[in-house]
Symmetry: C2
Subunit: 279 residues, 2 copies
């Protein structure tokens, strides 16, 4: 496995693999791998001849008051974990390699990105869409792999790919959870033991809520209010949002139109997101 | 020469040419060809193994009060002209082929696109950048060819290519002019004979102005005021802007920093743009 820091090195190596007829797979990440990332790598490995993982804590998707500086990083550990998954190539560029000081072009999605996390994190999805567009142009993958935990991110990327005609197939992988139900996240390491113990209450309430929505009709408010109370009382956290949304991440008024329950919860120093599909 | 209307047909044909080792060249146009377009095709033909010309009057780069509906179109004439230049492929999609009804993603350049035409045509360069990004993703050209008459467009595209890491080499071709100096434009057909007779006054004044700027130092205002008066009195038109700009399309205060004189002139029903490099 090689670790490259320069775009041109990546382009050259990928071009050679492509000439050799290999399918190119990309797993874009911010590093500090957990089992969710490893699942994406396994999916990529099983589908592609060249499996490339990018590690880049992208400053443009963090707000000024967010945790860019203290986002967890450990390249040596990540390298060993990726190697064990038979990844071919890690692309780990410096910020200066990715952004010119006078960089002035962005990719902006205006519909799917508006609600949910878009409300509390203005500019976040612009940063995400822009850096993913860049990675797509650097790597030119045949397939790219994203986790379903970042449900809205996945929807934004799918939209971008469709609207800008990127020749990339977007594949999604299920959420990987701890045995007690907590969705894996690189940020979970910042939970205090007591917060960590209560955090699975988010998933349990969403899961129970999805059961309530399944087959339900009419106004979503009573159901959402109940789930809202349950999440906050079980976790001791504060909900940023709890929403019943359709495939396009639009909030629905009628429970029968609900495809996902999605939430963002502030618990101690951490902002947790999670979602459950309504069957 | 083939004329294709569907993105997938273009992708398939280009993929075959690429496997055959041919360099792919793209000339993005809005059709109604004149000698300026044909020069771009010749340049593309001389540099690339597959020469593809797109013809698409892109609605998203026209403002609501602009001339999208009456922009001149003549696909049969364009087809014959392109064929005579040994173009391999015309891509002439319908609007519905290019934009989903709920399309929600755009490419936005925030610096180079602000002044000059960006002031008078809000949204124009967002439309241009977005459609060119789409064409780049559909065709995946090795090189793309643009005319220097649309100087700011060229700068915006170069920025976008750099900032989003498009693996495309942007090549520029000189402005092609009528014998009397008027820059060729598809819109020139809408000039009345008397307007057409006075229109070359724009180029003559810019050319004389560039001579004044060459070697000049200090405040640009007196020079610009003189050129401004000359353009309006020679043409009978109304200037939208006359600007002394640097390579990044930023207006300069000191004449010694001026790289281009650029202007937009309203003459009868037509908005003419032109520019001259300061040697």
């Amino acid at each position: 496995m090689r670790v490259l820091e320069k775009k041109d090195e990546v382009r050259n190596l990928v071009a050679r693999a492509r000439v050799g007829g290999r399918k190119i797979g990309l797993v874009p990440t911010m590093g500090f791998f957990h089992e969710g990332h490893l699942e994406l790598m396994r999916l990529c490995r099983s589908r592609c001849g060249l499996c490339l993982v990018s590690i880049f804590v992208n400053p443009t998707q963090f707000g000024p008051a967010e945790d860019f500086d203290r986002y967890p990083r450990d390249l040596e550990r990540d390298r060993a974990l990726a190697e064990a998954e038979s990844v071919d190539l890690i692309f780990a560029p410096a910020v200066e390699e990715m952004y010119a000081p006078d960089s002035s072009t962005v990719v902006l999605e205006n519909l799917v990105s508006r609600g949910l996390c878009g409300l509390g994190r203005p500019g976040h999805f612009q940063g995400v869409a822009t850096v993913v567009a860049k990675l797509f142009n650097i790597v030119q993958p045949d397939m790219a792999f994203f986790g379903r935990k970042d449900l809205q991110q996945l929807a934004v990327i799918r939209r971008m790919v469709r609207d800008l005609d990127f020749p990339v197939r977007v594949e999604a992988a299920p959420i990987v959870r701890e045995p007690d139900g907590l969705a894996l996240s690189s940020r979970n390491v910042y939970l205090e033991p007591e917060q960590r113990a209560r955090a699975p209450g988010l998933y349990r309430a969403l899961y129970r809520g999805a059961g309530m929505f399944s087959g339900a009709k009419g106004d979503t408010s009573p159901l959402l209010n109940e789930i809202h109370r349950e999440i906050e009382s079980a976790t001791g956290g504060r909900l940023e949002y709890l929403s019943a949304v359709d495939e396009e991440m639009e909030e629905v008024d009628d429970a029968s139109d609900c495809r996902y329950l999605a939430a963002a919860l502030h618990l101690g120093p951490v902002r947790l997101i999670d979602n459950v599909e309504v069957a």
